[in-house]
Amino acid sequence: MAECVRVEGSSHSMDKSITLPPDEIFRNLENAKRFAIDIGGSLTKLAYYSTVQHKVAKVRSFDHTAKEVPSDKLYEISVQEEITARLHFIKFENAYIETCLDFIKDHLVNTETKVIKATGGGAHKFKDLIEKKLGLKVDKEDEMTCLIKGCNFVLKNIPHEAFVYAKHADSEFRFQNTHPDIFPYLLVNIGSGVSIVKVESEDKFERIGGSSIGGGTFWGLGALLTKTKRFDELLQLASKGQHTSVDMLVKDIYGGSYGSLGLTGDLIASSFGKSATADKDFSKEDMAKSLLHMISNDIGQLACLYAKLHNLSRVYFGGFFIRGHPVTMHTITYSINFFTKGEVQALFLRHEGYLGAIGAFLKGAEEDNPNQYSWGENYAGSSGLMSVSPDINPMQRARSGTFPFDMLEMDRLERQLVNLPLLQDASSYIPDTVDLTEDALAREYWLSCFEEALDGVVKRAVASQPDIPEAAERAEKFRQKYRHKLQTLRHQPFAYGSLTVRSLLDTREHCLNEFNFPDPYSKIKQRENDVALKYYQKAVKSLEELSWEERQFALVRGVLAGNVFDWGAKAVSDVLESDPEFGFEEAKRQLQERPWLVDAYDQWIERLKGPPHKCALFFVDNSGMDIILGVMPFVRELLCRGTEVVLASNSGPALNDVTNGELQILTERIAAMDPVIQSGLKEDRLTLVQSGSSSPCLDLSRLDKVLAMVVRERQTDLVIIEGMGRAIHTNYYAMLTCESLKMAVIKNSWLADRLGGKLFSVVFKYEDPTRKPSKDTVALTPS
């Protein structure tokens, strides 16, 4: 049954003393349109669509035929305004609804908006208020339809949306991979009653059953038994109680277990069975606990029976009974494990509370075709898991003198993202090598590492905008925001899904963008590219003078040496800051001598003696030495061997990684000097594509659709991934259907230590799925 509960005793009157900080809540209202609202029993969820103006760094080739600009620069960097679409979802208590409506009315500029989509049990109650305050027509949408639409949307667009809850495990939350096909699934919505919905496709779903024993039963019966009025208080009581004094257990009847049926003595034979026979008073806590078990078990059992009947293995639980409450997530999980003997896992959703609002919004935004795009969670603007619950995050409540609220922001991505077609098993692919939610030691190190690096990042951000006086102020805001994120993650590592080095890096990029530092490295990249280009011909010439065997080794060392130049890594940025002349040759000398930490070089050479590859896909890393003196000569050799090459670079800036825009210009420049590259481009044997990402890491399950198409068309049979971010922090264990080469230099002494190596240790991992796995593999996770 749908959620339809009102919080008892809560007044819906506004508190006039509250002033809302516009840069924190209801952001970007000026451009807001397509409002939707979901009013539940105690919480209101508001959704709207807005456009955000971003500063983006663009590179443009100088017109070299023009005589008047004799510049020594390679290309021109300009900062442009770009407009991107963003979805805003805000959750707050119903008591503040009037304050919020007033605020929206005062700040809304867009007058095209005429209607507001509404759903939820409380929608009819507030209909008049909304229409009066906002002057918008309230358009009611079916609750279940909205719920399902929202659920499909988050499952498709938010990696790590679903999780398994394990109370006693090292990490309570185990986030699930986004399965390429989210259908079919079962959604068990536990509101006052229970609805069990089978979802088969975007538009096809059916309520296959339900139960009247749900959250309302817990609340209503609990209030009668314990004289405790509030739902949250009842849950608290339950978490302190002992159900065994109220329930009749198998051992109360049998004296022990019922062995022949495999029923252990601790199982509940009869809920509340002891309160019928024993003549005594029972504590509130014990009764609440017994009631919680009774209801959770019953719902779990029915869910399992429905899942079995319809042959469904993915079962998501939601509704106010679940909504972020560890107590109920635990009892439901326990019940599902018991009744399916572990065959079905109870799944929960990070943004479960927003489903109705998202769905209602999508209903109203159909003309914008939101389902045609890929969306990404903006870590800067979203508050993460469960931050609205005052018990769990008192910090949030106390913040900034306003009322507690929770936000989710999603950016529309310019490109549609899909799986790399070469993944062995897309459904089990996990990009990240180490899950920091599970690895406490690594988490501690990386959180501190990112915190220590923050000063440098702020400094560089300011330096990247020397002509803009208020840059320092923005950079300070960035520092506060990112530091706050890091603090949140210390307390709740699971706040945005699994915590990984990638998510920490991405969060930093999102925060930088938020404060209009779109590309702090643009000038540094430009300078490095410029320096490196001057050496290109010399480097190629010296390589050509080598014998075949010597050349192959020099090429690999070149890629590795180039990879030492990485502003993302602390050790390197220290050296580079102090000594900008740190050269390519110097880098080579820093490299570990063979045998490397992971050394499959002999197998690689053996392979090169065989027939050439049809097509190589190369995920490139840094600008400057790396791309120009490391990658390009390697690419050149592949082309000479008769292998086509697809160079995949980032769509948007991240650290000093070369972007697709920059790479286009660099390749043109190199082509002008090098006939091999020139003819490669001309004959379409060398192709540049964008990855669809703006991250220093690489998620092979979210790549530009065009890239996937090119990979398929060219019959790619070799994937090369270079750099720590893409080949170590992510994808180290990625299994592909074709040969792969993962090359990186460990530029972090802690990580090197952990892997049993030293700073500048080399990882050279060559894998061929048709052969046995290389014995040189080093486990990157402590066993």
Binding site: M1, A2, C4, R6, E8, G9, G121, D142, M144, S192, G193, R207, G209, S211, S212, I213, G214, G215, G216, T217, W219, G220, L221, A223, L224, L225, K229, V246, D247, M248, V250, D252, I253, Y254, G255, G256, Y258, L261, I268, A269, S270, S271, F272, G273, K274, S275, A276, T277, D279, F282, M294, N297, D298, Q301, L302, L305, Y306, K308, L309, F339
Partner: protein
């Protein structure tokens, strides 16, 4: 409270003469029998013998001398559940003068005590209306008596057994139910009795099949409700449980067990739920201050659950057509009790009724899902939760019929809670 069965009109007559005649006349109505009467001789379960592999080796050893040798009297079968102890006692009526002479005084006194009373102590009750007369068991003819008392009074029962020197009779006491395990040592130490423990589900099925096969006169053992979805026309009708397999057997005691039975020897426990009779009584005691099952039922019969529950129409104003939910369906059991003013306006009777409806509907719902999963269309409900509980039986009949669109049939048995005890007795007479 009434000590007898589900038919209130029975109360006046000891042997159920009147209803028997009524039912017989119904039985002769055309269209009642679905199966050919020719098959009656082949009624399954007629013989209680089976070669099911069970672990009752002790019983077999004791009665090695073959099937013709009968165990000595007294013949008891016992089922010690979480709430109630169920005892069946076979009273031989064909005792010869010679036998009478030889019969030891202890045995005589036990027989006299049990058969001349209908209540024992404060809480023991003989369900006279269920008594099966002129029954032939193991070559002897007599009456089968059905007795029950609360499990917490077991010590008093053991004391009585000790006082009457039960152990001197050297009988085997076949017992099933969890209490057979839990209280085994009490039987030994308090009454010097050695229990022969039996699996409760084995006994249950054996008992059901036996009773159904031997009851030929009197009220039909098995019955159902005709027109379950129409309260005006809903009437109890006899049912012949011929070719009963496969059937879903739902035993509602303190908790609930659901079994899929494919033949006498082939069954499995599909699932169970802890929301059973014990939950109904337990919650009623807490919510209303009552203390007995009969009291709780009496209150429930006078209450109105719709004041306590939140119905679909309370939310949607009528039916929720998008999902085919009728307005009268319960959306949230006890859902109205979330609100203070509604908590203050309900009576104890309303709460008792809502508890009964909640528990009953939930059992119906789980049963229906099991029936679908197991592809079984016939459901037999047994267990003492249904004793004098026509309200729940009609609700179950309604729920099965309505939500399955007439596909599922709910069946009930008169000896609702005694089958485990009967199965235990059969084990004594015909060890498997």
């Amino acid at each position: 409270m009434a000590y007898n069965g589900h038919q209130r009109e029975d109360e006046a007559s000891d042997d159920g003469e009147t209803p028997t005649k009524q039912l017989r006349s119904v039985k002769e109505m055309p269209g009642y029998l679905r199966n050919d009467t020719e098959n009656e001789a082949a009624t399954p379960g007629g013989s209680a013998t089976s070669d099911r592999p069970t672990s009752n080796s002790t019983a077999r050893h004791r009665m090695d001398s073959g099937k013709k040798s009968r165990p000595p009297f007294p013949w008891f079968g016992m089922d010690i559940g979480g709430t109630l102890v169920k005892l069946v006692y076979f009273e031989p009526k064909d005792i010869t003068a010679e036998e009478e002479q030889e019969e030891v005084e202890n045995l005589k006194s036990i027989r006299r005590y049990l058969t001349s009373n209908i209540a024992y102590g404060k809480t023991g009750i003989r369900d006279v209306h269920l008594e099966l007369q002129d029954l032939t068991m193991c070559g002897r003819t007599g009456n089968l008596h059905f007795i029950r008392f609360p499990t917490h009074d077991l010590p008093a029962f053991l004391q009585m057994g000790r006082n009457k020197h039960f152990s001197s009779l050297h009988t085997t006491l076949c017992a099933t139910g969890g209490g057979a395990y839990k209280f085994e040592s009490d039987f030994r130490t308090m009454a010097d009795l050695q229990l022969h423990k039996l699996d409760e589900l084995d006994c249950l099925i054996r008992g059901v099949l036996y009773i159904d096969s031997v009851v030929s006169s009197g009220p039909s053992e098995c019955y159902y409700f005709e027109n379950p979805t129409d309260p005006e026309r809903c009437v109890q009708r006899p049912y012949t449980l011929e070719n009963p397999y496969p059937l879903l057997l739902v035993n509602i005691g303190s908790g609930v067990s659901i079994l899929a039975v494919y033949s006498e020897n082939n069954y499995k426990r599909v699932t169970g739920t802890s929301l059973g009779g014990g939950t109904f009584l337990g919650l009623c005691c807490l919510l209303t201050g009552c203390s007995t099952f009969e009291e709780a039922l009496e209150m429930a019969s006078q209450g109105e659950s719709t004041r306590v529950d939140k119905l679909v129409r309370d939310i949607y104003g009528g039916d929720y057509e998008r999902f085919g939910l009728p307005g009268w369906a319960v959306a949230s059991s006890f859902g109205n009790m979330m609100f203070k003013e509604k908590r203050e306006s309900v009576s104890k009777e309303d709460l008792a009724r809502a508890t009964l409806v909640t528990i009953t509907n939930n059992i119906g719902s789980i049963t229906r899902m099991c029936a679908l999963n197991e592809k079984i269309e016939r459901v037999v409900f047994v267990g003492n939760f249904l004793r004098v509980n026509t309200l729940s039986m009609k609700l179950l009949a309604y729920a099965m019929d309505y939500w399955s669109k007439g596909q599922l049939k709910a069946l009930f048995l008169r000896h609702e809670g005694y089958f485990g005890a009967v199965g235990a007795l059969l084990e004594l007479l015909n060890p498997s």
